[in-house]
């Protein structure tokens, strides 16, 4: 083995907060060979990002490296003075961030930002600098790189902006690049392209790469070695294939088992924590074939931009702003049978959330109908039924921060006289138990709960209205894998015991496959394919479905 390009020994970074000293990174050690890709995996709060920032000496106050050593090409970085560190940053070690929309300065052209990064470390004439920048933009797959130099970030899509950020990180051909969740904010198909390009770039340049991610499948498709972080420590490290196939730590094994892709569809997922199986009711009989309990027929939804009078006048003068209306849902017809789960998949902008809102009675269709048992879901712009309830994506946003959760659960039922005030407390407690929360937590506020617990509250709130249909809009997208598994299990159990009809919206193909009887694939506002879940995944008919399935990184743990 050659000399490691990066060697980390006993690195510890602590945060000195009001609540006391929090050890975010504890005694982390690893080394990196030239050209090697290390996948740093962990759930939120595991310290993986802080580790990345610690390597660059860019930990925000009140955080600080308290012990350990980071050697880059043999040079010690911990304790190095700021000017020397700065001379290394971007030149020998550089970083890519998660959200490409937030990283580039919207007020500066891409050329400006690249030249600044270039000239920070070497003197070059403007022409030479531009030439180098154009070269790099071309290398990261930007078409027309000369025009790209003059463009501003907002003219580019998220994926393109991330490519620009990668180009900036590559400017000085650094020996190490740290990539902090660089594809998490992107759609699967863009993610697949970027993963391919990164693979190429690493091979061409010989740069070592630390790829930080919560997504085991993404990491596995790229990394030579994997390090699993848990509560600030690296608990397991080894060659990717070995770690994934034969994990030595229980935590890693649980993490793998919690992935929906690794379990037969419809079965409960293995979880890290205790499974509270609160309900054990026999399965509901299969729905009759021609049942159209919830039906959407010829539904369209168009969003019109508000065009000001001035813009209209400018339009007449031939200088319109070019903003058009968006046709978010195009002529969608589908039926959901009683007791079935329909999965709705698509990338961002596919219209899946808008369709979900049409079905939930939150938005009215521009044309077409949404009917529940032949009665319209919305009347006169208002939701006309209690039988449909909705679960939202982000449990941090979907609960009123200033209302006790017990009240949040009971207020809808109280407002509609589904129960009397004297019964409220017992009613709330019974629902808390059913979704796996301690009944006495009803007096708490949302901020006292974790993300998974909040989502349980949101589920209890929806179920307290005694609905027959549950529309779930990305209900597990913002949760860690192990929590995600618990919530998916809860959905599966509740659906069986309560005979719920569900529409499950997600960008995550494996989650949708796991919970759904039938799956509808949406693309640019239309349903391009609809059929039984297994058929769609095993034998997709539409081009887009195939592309989508191919773009998803898959953990293949079976030995060939």
């Amino acid at each position: 083995m050659s000399e490691p390009v990066l060697e980390v020994q006993g690195l510890s970074t602590h945060f000195f907060t009001r609540q006391g000293e929090i050890p975010a990174v504890r005694d982390v050690s690893f080394s990196l060979q030239p050209g090697e890709v290390l996948g740093l995996v962990g759930e939120s709060g595991s310290g993986k990002s802080v580790t990345g920032f610690s390597l660059l000496g860019l930990v925000d106050a009140p955080g600080r490296i308290v012990a350990g050593s980071v050697k880059l090409d043999g040079q010690e970085l911990v304790g190095l003075a700021e000017p020397e560190l700065r001379a290394l940053r971007g030149r020998d070690i550089s970083m890519i961030f998660q959200d490409p929309i937030a990283t580039l300065n919207p007020m500066l052209s891409i050329g400006d930002q690249m030249r600044m990064a270039l000239l920070a470390h070497e003197k070059r004439s403007l022409q030479e600098a531009n030439k180098k920048c154009v070269d790099l933009l071309r290398r990261v797959g930007i078409t027309e790189p000369e025009a790209g130099l003059r463009a501003y970030p907002h003219e580019y899509s998220g994926g393109m902006r991330q490519r620009v950020a990668i180009a900036i990180a590559l400017l000085h051909n650094p020996s190490v690049i740290i990539a902090d969740e660089p594809t998490t904010a992107l759609d699967v198909s863009i993610q697949a392209q970027i993963l391919n390009e990164m693979r190429e770039l690493v091979r061409e340049t010989g740069t070592a790469l630390i790829w930080i991610s919560h997504d085991l499948a993404v990491v596995a498709s790229l990394a030579d070695r994997i390090a699993v972080m848990y509560r600030g420590e690296i608990i397991e490290t080894g060659p990717t294939f070995d770690v994934l196939r034969a994990p030595k730590q229980e935590y890693t094994a649980n993490l793998l088992a919690a992935l929906p892709a690794n379990t037969e569809p419809g079965q409960l997922l293995a979880q890290g924590g205790v499974v509270r199986s609160v309900l054990n009711v026999p399965e509901m009989p299969a729905p009759p074939e021609n049942d159209h309990f919830l039906s959407v027929s010829g539904a369209n939804r168009v969003f019109f931009p508000s065009i000001s009078l001035g813009e209209k006048i400018a339009g007449l003068m031939g200088a319109g702003s070019g903003r058009r209306s968006t046709h978010a849902v195009k002529n969608v017809t589908l039926r959901v049978a009683r007791g079935e789960t329909l999965g709705l998949v698509g990338e961002s902008g596919s219209g899946k959330s808008t369709l979900g809102r049409l079905m939930a009675g939150i938005l009215a269709p521009t044309s077409g109908q949404v009917l529940l048992d032949d009665a319209p879901v919305m009347q006169e712009g208002k939701k006309a039924t209690l039988r449909i309830q909705t679960i939202f994506q982000d449990p941090f946003a979907s609960l009123n921060p200033r209302m006790k959760v017990g009240r949040a659960v009971s207020e809808g039922a109280l407002a509609h006289n589904l129960l009397s005030p004297s019964e409220a407390s017992a009613y709330v407690k019974s629902w808390f138990e059913k979704v796996g929360l301690e009944p006495e937590w009803a007096e708490r506020y949302p901020h006292q709960f974790s993300g998974g617990q909040r989502q349980r509250v949101a589920i209890a709130r929806a179920l307290a209205m005694q609905p027959e249909v549950l529309i779930c809009d990305e209900p597990v997208a913002s949760l860690d894998v192990s929590i995600q598994a618990q919530i998916i299990n809860l959905f599966l159990e509740l659906q069986r015991s309560l005979g719920l009809t569900m529409v499950f919206i997600s960008h995550d193909l494996s989650v949708v496959r796991h919970v759904s009887d039938r799956v509808a694939v949406m693309y640019l506002g239309e349903i391009v394919e609809l059929g039984p879940a297994e058929e769609i995944y095993k034998a997709p008919k539409h081009d887009y479905t195939m592309r989508l399935l191919n773009a998803v990184p898959v953990l293949d743990l079976k030995v060939d």
């Binding site: 907060t17 009001r18 939930a360 009675g361 939150i362 208002k382 939701k383 209690l386 309830q389 909705t390 939202f392 994506q393 982000d394 946003a397 979907s398 609960l399 009123n400 921060p401 200033r402 209302m403 207020e411 809808g412 407002a415 006495e440 007096e443 708490r444 506020y445 901020h447 006292q448 949101a458 709130r461 209205m465």
Partner: protein
């Protein structure tokens, strides 16, 4: 994670860490008490014309008056004990500041939330009006209104409200518009909860933090604006001397070295306004979501 861990308690625990802000809060509370009980704590009753003697007017601090009483802060041009006049003036200033602040808060918040929640034409109409007014300096508006309506407490409060409600409306509108787009409001609408409940229990409580910040600033501003108007001779009638009026009364004597008539009421005014603003600043910092870790 105790169950008594309410948002208010958490807030107070954090507030307590800024010693300066706690001190300012104590000052504000003490001054409010002094003002409330001005008739009890004041050594003299400045409205009791019978006890005034022009022989005692414009005397320096420490002067022993004809009544045998030592005027700690001296006397004003009418021969009133300055300390007593300040306490009574404080009462008027605080009354006006609070009244104008709360009326503006109520009107502004209602309009702002109405505009944000209802949308469409109502929104356009209300917000155009508010923006129009915001593009016009508050002091000028107040000046003109007072000039036209004449002097008096109600007119003055009316002028201050007219000059300030727009700030509340803007803030409430901005907050409500942002909250309106959040999932918890959508969840409440999707339940569906009656509009009244969505607005009163969900929207309004979550719009309060920025409004509280604006309210502290605006109460301080009202007090300052009232003093300025009184100073310009457009505030309250002479029979109800606010702090601004006292300062104004002393202005002509300043050049001749009788500084105390203006300076002491001024110091009282400044301590009050600075304290309110220090408290307001701390609340603002604590409520700014973008600075929170």
């Amino acid at each position: 994670m105790s169950d008594r861990n309410t948002p208010l308690r958490v807030f107070w625990a954090e507030f307590r860490e800024n010693k300066m802000a706690v001190f300012a809060l104590i000052v504000v509370v003490v001054m409010m008490f002094l003002a409330l009980f001005a008739s009890v704590v004041s050594p003299h009753d400045p409205y009791d014309l019978a006890s005034l003697s022009l022989l005692d007017s414009r005397r320096p601090p420490g002067f022993v008056g004809t009544g045998g009483y030592t005027h700690i802060l001296g006397t004003d041009p009418q021969g009133r004990d300055l300390l007593s006049a300040i306490l009574y003036g404080l009462r008027i200033s605080i009354q006006i500041g609070l009244a104008a602040g709360f009326v503006s808060l109520t009107i502004g918040t209602s309009l702002g939330i109405l505009a944000a929640y209802v949308g469409g034409r109502v929104e356009a109409l209300i917000m155009r009006l508010v923006d129009l007014q915001l593009s016009f300096p508050a002091i000028l508006l107040a000046l003109v209104i007072v000039a036209l309506l004449g002097q008096g407490k109600a007119q003055l409060i009316g002028a201050l409200v007219a000059a300030q409600y727009a700030y509340f409306a803007r803030t409430a509108y901005g907050a409500a518009k942002a909250e309106r787009g959040k999932d918890y409001i959508e969840a409440a609408v999707a339940t569906p909860l009656p509009t009244r409940l969505v607005v009163l229990r969900h929207l309004l409580p979550n719009c309060m933090p920025p409004l509280i910040v604006v309210a502290t600033v605006q109460i301080a501003n009202s007090i300052s604006l009232e003093a300025t108007l009184s100073f310009l001779g457009l505030g309250l009638p002479v029979t109800e001397p606010s702090l601004g009026m006292l300062i104004s009364n002393g202005f002509p004597y300043m050049m001749s070295g009788r500084y105390w008539i203006s300076v002491y009421p001024g110091i009282a005014l400044i301590i009050l306004i600075v304290s309110i603003n220090v408290v307001g600043d701390q609340i603002r910092d604590q409520l700014n979501p973008r600075l929170r870790k």
